[in-house]
């Protein structure tokens, strides 16, 4: 198998293709974090008093957490101390003028998103996908806004929502992930700069995919975006986020918060294709992806579904979960997490069953290659009130090569005896026999490995919106193709 290993190493070491930097003038705040910085960020965004108060409250809480060294240490990941005083907490491309239409966006910016495959100009947009493009700390463009507005759907940057829909933001901000939730969520609550906001009114089925594309460009900058999606009674929305960053030797922090709220009979489908810069083949550089994502299935028979394909980032720390509060509500989590070279991932989900007859479904596929370490950490909690709750968990690990690792930490807490729980787990290796079989049929080693891995992930990929399933497969083949050995 030595020949395979060679081919695969070449592929695994293939360069990250989104690693370029855009030369654009930025408006940044000084490094470090204190109340003045918070006030400065808030002032730059021209925020109302209540928003600033919330930030300050969060900052003070975070400062106390920092003092008591409450940065979470329990995850199965290893990294040096983060110097929070050396991070730039806000960086925005300098606007040339007030934008009246998408056509007035800085051409550099357009070119950047074009290069990333996210065209923002009218003619070239993905048909059927509305995009909000976030560059460093701010949203630079949102497409199809008017068309969505006709249906009463609000899809805009978070900053715009704070200005134009303060009643909605005030009602739901922090209602799923409170500012005290955890160290990184608290930090985000203090300094978050932008993100997407989406509101789907009662009975409306959003006719297109909503999508946010996150791009970190500036050096030494942290990206702290915040997304809030509210689906009113009987509505439906499918949302997708993608992310990339330039290649840099320094680690960069990305600490996002996503909150979803689904009311009676509403459905939210949230998909992520995460392709942050993963660091080089020796593990230098890369994004720390420390993210808190949670949905509240608040209404009866509501449904929240998370699908994630995590192939990038030096370290991934995220547990998109669902609080199943409404009776008969459903929570789903479908995940593919890939770690190659020296990447680390500690990811999984939390399903908190509160309502009666609530159901959750978890399918996690972890792939480890190179020296990658991949941990599934999942919590399923059935509270006393959750009569007739059901959970199904399937958790599979695939190992490629000899130097990687797969770990599984399932936590199950059942307080109601009527609950039905199923847990299945497997660990397998990409077999020499499988690779040889496919090569004998005429496929190259890299195509063979990629076919086997894509087959392994099929159950998750079929949950992605059509257009993105293909992209996810390609992405996986590029980031993975490492290491049959």
């Amino acid at each position: 198998m030595s020949t395979d290993t060679n081919i695969i190493e070449v592929l695994a070491n293939r360069e990250y293709q989104y690693g370029f930097v855009t030369a654009i003038e930025a408006d940044s705040v000084p490094r470090g974090l204190n109340e003045d910085i918070i006030r400065l960020i808030s002032a730059k965004k021209n925020e109302p008093e209540w928003m600033l108060d919330w930030r300050l409250k969060s900052y003070r809480h975070w400062a106390s957490l920092r003092k008591s060294e409450a940065e979470p240490k329990w995850a199965n990941i290893h990294y040096g101390p983060i110097d929070y005083e050396n991070i730039v907490y806000y960086s925005a491309p300098k606007p040339k003028a007030q934008l009246n239409s998408l056509e007035e966006i800085d051409p550099e910016m357009l070119a950047t998103f074009e290069k990333l495959g996210i065209p923002l100009t009218e003619q070239k947009r993905f048909a059927g996908v509305a995009v909000d493009a976030v560059f460093d700390s701010v949203s630079v463009a949102t497409t199809f806004k008017e068309k969505l507005a006709e249906l009463g759907i609000i899809f805009c940057s978070f900053s715009e929502a704070v200005q134009k829909h303060p009643e909605l933001v005030q009602k739901y901000l922090g209602s799923v992930v409170p500012y005290t939730d955890n160290f990184f969520a608290t930090l985000n609550s203090a300094v978050f700069s932008d993100g997407s906001f989406c509101y789907v009114p009662k009975g409306v089925r959003c006719p297109m995919e909503l999508s946010t594309y996150f791009r970190i460009n500036a050096a030494d900058t942290g990206q702290f975006e915040r997304t809030l999606i509210i689906a009113e009674e009987g509505s439906y929305v499918s949302y997708l986020e993608g992310c990339t960053a330039p290649m840099r030797d320094q680690n960069q922090l990305h600490a996002a918060v996503v909150e979803l709220v689904a009311l009676d009979d509403a459905q939210i489908k949230y998909s992520t294709i995460q392709n942050w810069y993963p660091g080089d083949k020796d593990g230098k550089g890369g994004i720390y992806n420390f993210v808190t994502k949670r949905g509240k299935a608040l209404g009866r028979s509501s449904k929240i579904s998370w699908t994630q394909v995590e192939t990038g980032a030096a370290i991934t720390w995220k547990y998109p979960g669902v609080i199943l509060q409404g009776d008969n509500s459903v929570g789903e989590f479908y995940s593919v997490a890939l770690t190659n070279n020296y990447q680390q991932a500690d990811t999984g989900t939390k399903m908190i069953h509160i309502g009666r007859n609530t159901r959750s479904n978890i399918v996690s596929k972890g792939i480890s290659a190179g020296h990658g370490q991949n941990t599934y950490r999942g919590m399923v909690k059935i509270l006393k009130s959750a009569v007739g709750a059901r959970n199904y968990t399937q958790c599979d690990s695939l190992l490629i090569g000899e130097k990687c690792g797969a770990h599984t930490f399932p936590y199950i807490e059942v307080k109601n005896a009527t609950a039905r729980m199923e847990h299945e787990a497997s660990t397998s290796k990409v077999g020499e026999d499988q690779v040889f079989y496919l090569k004998q049929r005429g496929l190259s080693a890299e195509d063979a490995v990629s076919m086997i891995v894509n087959g392994f992930c099929k159950k998750v990929f079929k949950e992605l919106p059509m257009e993105f399933a293909v992209e996810a497969q390609k992405l996986l083949s590029i980031s993975l193709e490492g290491s049959v050995g």
Partner: protein
Amino acid sequence: MLEIRNLHVQVGNQEILKGIDLQVNAGEVHAIMGPNGSGKSTLALVLAGRETYEVIAGEVIYDGNNLLEMAPEERACRGVFLAFQYPVEIPGVGNAYLLKAALNAIRKYRGLEELDAMEFLPLAREKMKLLEMDDQLLNRSVNEGFSGGEKKRNEIFQMAVLEPRLAILDETDSGLDIDALKIVAKGVNELRNPQRASIVVTHYQRLLNYIVPDYVHVLVDGRIVKSGGKELALALEDQGYAWVEAETQSATTAHT
């Protein structure tokens, strides 16, 4: 088409093939028979390019080129096909998906245009019919949950679609009932033509009632000890391998 000269192969430190000579011309069907552990499957896998086997001496010339220098996929693209003794399962990969990818990889190598799904499916369906296979097997994951017989038939189905120049069947008959055996034989006979050749590795004579070979070779302890026409297979059926082994033994003794 294929010329094997003095081929020695080992696994670890154990020599399994101890000097094989074999010539296969286009249009011929060769049967390789022999007792368990004689090296039949090793020969099949070495020809297909399995890396776990180390060639320590000899050469294999295929269409004028050194076969042993080619990667397994290159051999496949040049028309070498192995029907595996133990076809592996590949979860989540559709049978049709794999086969279309394989066919297109081979076509691309040969400078032919790749087929799209609309062109591929009728072709696949036609071959399935020939092998009396259920259409549903096209959409199921490769060999996953297939019965032993289905796996073997699936190998022949793939062969029928890929239309190799040199087909090597490694004990495709083992574990098949007589009806399945006939279907498998039909698949192989369908491919028979003056441009193609087959090597049929088998333990039993039974299969050769349906795939009538031009030559039969008996492999014992890593060497071809006897070659002949199809009647040799019948003699083996009557008298067992002990007879050939005894004959070889006495021949060796006579030399010393």
